[in-house]
């Protein structure tokens, strides 16, 4: 695969590494399971990237970034950036086994409290009954041991400033998690989710649809029906004082790669505490069924250095459906009401 113009040596290295990685075909998880070819050689492929009638690369279609790969590398895998082919096959087998156990014995309790460090509880509907277990949808497999690339594979340390800011937010929140709607997570309020920019995997429905028109690339993420309409005609960012949940994206083509630069995030973005987030993304179609997605996140006031991630986005046969969220968000009201009932009972008991 050749790329006509690349911004930097770093990008080139990432792409070469990724193209080697992409020779591991995505194992189909859909009912019509395809046999996974044992080995593929890049030079033998005669695939040419499809172009739109107006000559721009075609990224269109319905895709998923559903994955087993965590954002950060597990401590037990420190220093190991890639699985071998054999280890990947093992992972895939274990994933199928895990799903079988879930479907027959029920899913294991986990922490559903939304409070970090809380113990496991059982209070949840069965994902696999609704087809929401990640293994019940197509998985975009990768040999990476974390989405974040590099020897560490973790989000860099916070700056002292950020550490203090987050400590203050935590102190203000503690004991007040259910005081009012503004205390609940943005996702629970149906305002914004972490899977939109960068395009990180969601727990389920981790799908997106790309539609390209003249001078624009539109990316709709299924949850929460969020659309980014990215101009590629060179227009500048919006004024700096206008801040948005998902920022302001502007894009341009570098050869076959769509490069998107996003600024103007609010300081209450899904990366809570980050005040001047800057996200750079690269979308490159590397074969008929795969987009290689790479991103870099930086905020000098938040992290000591920029961090980058990479994940494959693979084509799915289905389509995305409306995920309306706010319109039937009974859970938010129920959560607040539940907290008020618990407080009233606690007050009654202490009054005794």
């Amino acid at each position: 695969m050749k790329y006509r113009s690349l911004a930097s040596v770093v990008a080139f290295t990432a792409v070469v590494a990724a193209s080697m990685l992409m020779q591991t075909p995505a194992a189909a998880q859909a009912p019509a399971a395809k046999a996974t070819p044992a080995k593929t050689v890049p030079a033998a492929k005669a695939w040419t990237a499809p172009l739109l009638p107006n000559g721009t690369p075609d990224l269109q279609g319905v895709w998923t970034n559903n994955t087993v790969t965590d954002l950060e590398r597990p401590k037990a895998l420190a220093g190991k950036e890639f699985y071998t082919e054999a280890e990947l096959k093992d992972l895939q087998k274990q994933e199928r086994q895990r799903l079988y156990v879930t479907e027959t014995e029920g899913q294991p309790p986990a922490n559903h409290s939304g409070v970090e460090g809380a113990g496991a509880d059982d209070v949840h509907y069965d994902f696999s009954q609704f087809g929401l277990d990640r293994a019940q949808a197509k998985l975009a497999w990768s040999r990476r041991t974390s989405i974040i690339v590099g020897p560490e594979g973790t989000i860099p340390p916070l700056t002292p400033d950020a550490r203090q800011r987050l400590a203050e937010i935590r102190a203000k929140t503690k004991g007040h998690e259910f005081d009012g709607p503004e205390m609940l997570p943005l996702g629970a309020r149906c305002i914004a989710r972490v899977n939109v920019v960068p395009v990180l995997p969601a727990a389920y429905n981790s799908n997106l649809q790309i539609v390209q028109g003249d001078g624009y690339v539109a990316i709709e993420t299924e949850e929460i029906h969020d659309v980014r309409v990215i101009p590629t005609d060179g227009r500048p960012h919006i004024p700096g004082n206008i801040r948005q949940w998902y920022g302001d994206p502007v894009g341009h083509w570098e050869g076959k790669t769509l490069v998107v630069d996003t600024t103007n995030f609010t300081e209450l973005s899904p990366f809570r505490g980050a005040q001047n987030l800057h996200v750079i993304e690269r979308f490159t179609r590397v074969d008929q069924d795969t987009i290689l997605y790479q991103f870099t996140v930086e905020d000098p006031g938040m992290w000591t250095k920029a961090w980058s991630g990479e994940l494959p986005i693979t084509k799915i046969d289905g389509q995305i459906y409306e995920y309306a969220c706010h319109e039937a968000n009974y859970g938010l009201a129920d959560t607040l009401r539940g907290a008020r009932v618990a407080e009233a009972e606690a007050a009654k008991n202490s009054a005794k």
Binding site: E87, K93, Q97, Y100, P108, Q136, A188, P201, V341
Partner: protein
Amino acid sequence: MMKLILIGGLLLAAAAPAWAHHGFAAEFDQTRPLKLKGTVTKWEVTNPHSWIHIDVKGDDGKVVGWMIEGGSPNNLYRLGLTKDSLPIGSEIVVDGYQAKDRSAKAVGKSVTFSDGKRLFLGLPGPESEPDKK
């Protein structure tokens, strides 16, 4: 308990959703488990959660309407199901936990038809494989 499956030195965490959008234990009470049997009056195919409405007849003969929280229907559509896949009048059994606000709402940890067959996706799907050991 969270199981970490060791595969030749590798780790694959059990798939609790990494970016769950809110705490369910804030909405439903682990200390109030229940088992309900009722007739479906409506299936609200909504997001972020769907809700199955059932009429439950109590021991006193009175009928109480309950709302049972379930999952997003979107992937069911991709797997070929529609809003008609849970017919009105179906008899279902709900194993779950009551809402923290003590109302006639519950989360259905497991929902079956009265013959024991699991709702929506029967066991096990083609994506999973039985233990060959």
